[in-house]
Amino acid sequence: MTTRTRGALRTAAFLSPWLVGFGLFFAYPLAATAYFSLTHYDGFRQPVFNGLENWSYVLTDYPAFWPAMGNTLWLVVVMVSCRVVFGLGVGLLVTRIKRGAGVFRTLFYLPYLAPPVAATLAFVFLLNPGTGPVNSLLEGAGLPAPGWFNDPDWSKPALTALAVWGVGDLMVIFMAALLDVPRERYEAAELDGASAWQRLRYVTLPAISPVVLFAVVTGVIQAMQYYTQPLVAGKVASGAIGGSGRQFRPGYPEDSTLTLPQLVHDLGFQRFDYGSACVVALVLFALSMVFAALLMRRGGPLGAGG
């Protein structure tokens, strides 16, 4: 065995844990998903190749697909933006507080620890249009009281409010990044007469841009996987908690909380159409790749080397 071969084998041996993990949890599922998307597969019988039939069905004949796509994109754009802006805002706030900072940091972080189902249930009850305290307060103040999770125009903003409430994870990473910005840069900017906004725009944001990028990319991925909260909110608000074998399609009210991951489950496990479920999974994958590429492109506002 030559030295060169020995070196290659040694490299492969060191890489093997990653290679095994990559193969098992990425390459194989990706290849299998792509293959099943081209088959008629009900999960019981052997898959039968059917070309692009599943793609045609999902994109043109399955009425839930485009509303779910629209909702997912809405959540990616609006919910992620709100979470990042609020996370940064709270991070800025708690790094500036002189007294009681520990208390405020804890208070802002605690909601993040709430289990998603419990937090969603609490929000649905708080925002109940008939009995919730939020609408009672709004009506008491003479303000319009929305239907929140019962109104298709307000259900996604209500989900966004829930996501913003649990922004403690982003607050922590923004806080760490903000405390890492060298003080001298602020002092130099102040000597040059920079305003507070200019210090934020030209000193803080460039210094923490890798963290902002991280927050946005992970936020986009979470939004792509958004399943539990809209499902629970839709079920509870619609009254269809289940239990008598009654059929339930997620998305209440009027498909406004339907998301692509919910369709993967609906198609695969409710309708036994694994081929079409794989199509939706691949669309989600492609969307993730597109968003990641856009966000990290060289020269972009968040990309390295810009």
Partner: protein, 446 residues
């Protein structure tokens, strides 16, 4: 730095594909025939969905009775199993997979039968000399087979009827529950007390999110045909559906309109809790299954509860007494290597009159055989007789099994939401689109 960037992309990809990975399972194959010795000592695994302590105790007691008659068969019962777990186990097989499974929903029977995931029970039934028509009510036979394949049998059942608040009826001067829908409309309006833009009490919540008030449960009173002889959706051609939707939307208007009703619905507690609107007196009538009777007793509601069959259309008054039927199903896994022994358990659970009666007494469900329905050993609330009669009524019916589960019911339900809210103004055109969508979905699934 190119490496971390790629790594992030990969993480995004892995995250998305974790979902896809769940779909990339492998297929199993049937064990092929029943060659096992039915008299040999054997241990069966029985998966079921009951989870409450009293329910699990009832299942265990039933199995203990079975063991007395079949001491060579040991049964390992696994409670609280969902349909998704059942599907995965039926697909994968293996030593840990169940031999006998039961499911609360009848919607997956089409897939279980057509795919062969559950064994065809016909050879076993024939060998045992069971006359199905003489043993089970027709509706229960309908929801346990698909395309001529009988892969399941009914294991107790549900019957749907009308609950009413007798005190509210007396206050309103109503002496008897309504028997036709026009009577029902009058009673519902008479019981309704408006208060501003809400209600002090609502006679009946007609919107399709009103818990069990679903298109499927209501349509049963119009004797619907869901699929024609060619297997195509009949929701646009069978006038039963148009009649049901028309009646429902008219009642929505008569009781104050969709928006007002929806706002009031927001004040309701959940279906399975003590704050159910029928328990609290917020609604005076409720469409529900037989289980509500026990729940009203447990909740100690402060009024007398009456029970009756749901009304029927005025031109079908002779059919009064029927209702929608559903229930738990039980079958044998094709992957089981102990199918003869498994059949002994299934036969006992579903056809032994004493076993069915005892199980019904313990679970407060409707017995699923003719003999059990007529048994003097039934120890149930006297009002429960109404549900027994509904279960026995020859015109009681159910939603048929379909190859893609309950997808056709969901499509019809989605149309109902659009129609009642006014988003879908044209009933005929809407039903035609619904039928076309159902046909497309089924063609895709075949």
């Amino acid at each position: 730095m190119p490496v971390p960037r790629r790594s992030r992309i990969l993480r995004a990809a892995v995250a998305s594909l974790a979902l896809a990975a769940a779909l990339a399972g492998c297929t199993g194959s049937p064990a092929g025939g029943a060659q096992d010795d039915p008299n040999a000592p054997v241990t069966l695994t029985f998966w079921h969905g009951w989870s409450a302590p009293a329910e699990v105790a009832a299942v265990d007691a039933n199995i203990a009775r079975f063991r007395e008659a079949h001491p060579h068969i040991t049964v390992k019962a696994v409670p609280n199993v969902t349909d998704e777990k059942i599907q995965q186990a039926l697909r994968a097989g293996g030593s840990g997979a169940p031999d006998v499974v039961s499911s609360f929903t009848t919607d997956n029977v089409g897939m279980f039968c057509s795919s062969g995931a559950l064994a065809d029970l016909s050879p076993f039934i024939e060998k045992s000399g069971i006359d199905l028509a003489k043993t089970f009510p027709k509706a229960r036979l309908d929801y346990t087979r698909f395309d001529g394949v009988r892969c399941a049998l009914p294991l107790l059942g549900d019957a749907y009827g009308l609950y009413y608040n007798k005190d509210a009826f007396a206050q309103a001067g109503i002496t008897a529950p309504p028997r036709t829908w026009s009577e029902f409309d009058r009673v519902a309006r008479k019981l309704t007390k408006h208060r501003g833009d809400s209600y002090e009490r609502l006679g009946f919540m007609p919107v399709f999110h009103g818990y069990e008030t679903t298109p499927g449960h209501l349509a049963a009173q119009w004797q619907p045909t869901y699929f024609d002889a060619d297997g195509r959706s009949a929701v646009a051609t069978d006038p039963a559906f148009a009649a049901m939707f028309t009646w429902q939307k008219n009642l929505v208007a008569k009781l104050g309109g969709f928006r007002k009703l929806e706002k009031y619905r927001g004040t309701f507690g959940d279906e399975w809790g003590a704050r159910h609107p029928f328990h609290t007196g917020q609604v005076a009538m409720q469409l529900d299954g037989e289980w509500r009777l026990g729940m009203t007793a447990d909740a100690k509601v402060p009024f007398e509860v009456g029970v009756a069959p749901l009304p029927v259309p005025d031109d079908q008054a002779a059919d009064y007494g029927k209702g929608y039927l559903s229930g738990t199903i039980v079958g044998i896994a094709s992957t089981s290597a102990k199918q003869n022994a498994a059949w002994q358990l299934v036969k006992y659970l579903t056809t032994d009159t004493d076993a069915v009666v005892a199980f019904a007494n313990e679970l407060r469900n409707v017995p699923s055989t003719h003999a059990a329905l007529a048994s003097p050993k039934l120890r149930l609330d006297p009002r429960f007789r109404v549900f027994l009669d509904i279960a026995r009524h020859p015109r009681s019916n159910t939603t048929p099994a379909s190859v893609n589960g309950g997808a056709y019911q969901v499509t019809l339900q989605e149309f109902g939401y659009r129609y009642e809210s006014g988003r879908e103004p044209d009933l005929r055109a809407g039903l035609e689109r619904t039928a076309a969508q159902i046909d497309t979905d089924i063609a895709k699934a075949r």
